[in-house]
Amino acid sequence: MLSFPTPSVYQSSKCFVTYGVMGHLDPNQPPTKSKPWSTVAGQDFINRVELIIPQDAFEVVRKILNEKAAPEFQRVVMSLHDVLSGDFFTECIKKGNVMMLSEGRKGIDNVFTFRNGILTMLLDKEAYERAGLVGKPDGVKGKRGLKPRWVVEIDLTSSSMVPGKKGFDRLIYASKNAFNTPVTWLFCNLSSTIPNPDPLAPHSPTRCAAEPSVLENLDAMLPTLKPPVDAIGPEGREELQYFSTELYEWLSLVRLQSPRIQVGDQVDPYLCRYQVPGDGQQGKICKLTWQGFLAPSWCREILLSLVAELPSKTWFSFSTTTFSKGMAGDNSEISLFRAQGAPGEYLMWEIKSHE
């Protein structure tokens, strides 16, 4: 085929596949440092979570979800200066455990994030120069046609980040002179306590609860739900790649709600030659989707509950997608699939976009 330039909206990415076994779960000491738990919790801001289960597992899932409140987040309009001052700064930033994301397309607009105590400012050249803060170049060097951008990272929990100290005062100065326009933020409180009075209240936040949307009783053509035995070992690499790519595609088609995986789909091969891999098994499945400003720690909690409470032979798939990172809307995703009838065995796909 003739060669063409890569489309500008092309999300170029590679997929890192792990085939592993989850260890025994001790409910008193839930795992945090091992895969896949650390991978799921290590993401930044989650926009979308999707769970696919066999229909007969729905009751257990419903019970799990009823025991927890739907994840909450808030939408609020504040200037960067508001974030850095008063009770909000003291209670939420310094003492609290919150995450925040400001509106804007990364790579085009000036965007701020706050996570794990670090304020990150993604700025264009003019804003960076006006701010007068110390930062690093952001993005791939030499990207043709794109203006250079800058990233500034500041640990706001540091003891040097208080009014009166030079570094902090410089930041306050920048927030007043370069970033005094209020912007929309998404805010999520990761701790179980809210300071009283709520320092967010004067900014009239909109509270949102991410309730899942549920699609039940989908009659689906099922793929093989367990990796092939010879996928392990150096000779099994191709086998694993093939199997995991096909399974990931099937799970994606379920998430897309494509008719191609549904029982009875009789599309003309001229229009589509997709075939569900496997031996023609059918089954009823259920899909739950959450969308919002979700914490990776919540994702890990849900995953832990699923693994602990669903019967060990039940398969399921759990995928978490982050907010877009760049101009092409690059986002990253972790999908996990627990195999059927093979206790603890899982496949995990980590899709990260090339920067």
């Binding site: 990415s13 070992g233 191609r260 995928s319």
Partner: protein
């Protein structure tokens, strides 16, 4: 970009072995692999019309055959017979949007053809154009991006 971190080496080991995994209380990684060039790529397309009024009464809703026809026309116009014979799998057609699968090496040409397509006359005046909303090698990540704007 980021590298995979083994934070807790004693309990996460990489084993390449041909034995079946045995019951163990520890987490284990049996094998890992990186997929850089999968066989297929995916595209999310949207049918738009710059002349459409907000009442949208004239927006055609696509069916699979019509959508495929627009794509064939666009590809033939841009790439001749080679383009027209490009393998496209229609995964979903809904409202004015469609999702397709193409061989990975053909994605760039496909997207260029769709973008270059000057439009299709529908019912007289209006010009229907197809726009690539997004494309990539991993369908789930494309699907996962949907609706992000709604949160704001």
């Amino acid at each position: 970009m980021s590298t995979e971190m083994d934070i807790d080496p004693p309990t996460t080991t990489t084993i390449t072995t041909t034995t079946k995994p045995t019951k163990s209380s520890k987490s284990q990684t049996l094998t890992q692999t990186t997929i850089r060039s999968p066989v297929f790529s995916y595209a999310h397309l949207s049918l738009v019309s710059p002349f459409l009024s907000s009442s949208s009464q004239n927006t055609p809703s696509l069916d699979t055959l019509t959508a495929r026809h627009y794509l064939t026309t666009a590809l033939r116009q841009f790439l001749g017979d080679t383009g027209a014979s490009l393998a496209i799998d229609m995964l979903l057609v809904k409202g004015t949007e469609c999702w397709v699968r193409v061989p990975r090496e053909d994605l760039a040409a496909f997207a260029a053809a769709v973008t270059a397509y000057p439009g299709q006359n529908v019912g007289g005046e209006e010009q229907m154009l197809m726009r690539v909303v997004g494309c990539g090698d991993w369908l789930g990540a494309l699907v996962g991006r949907e609706g992000e704007g709604r949160v704001w």
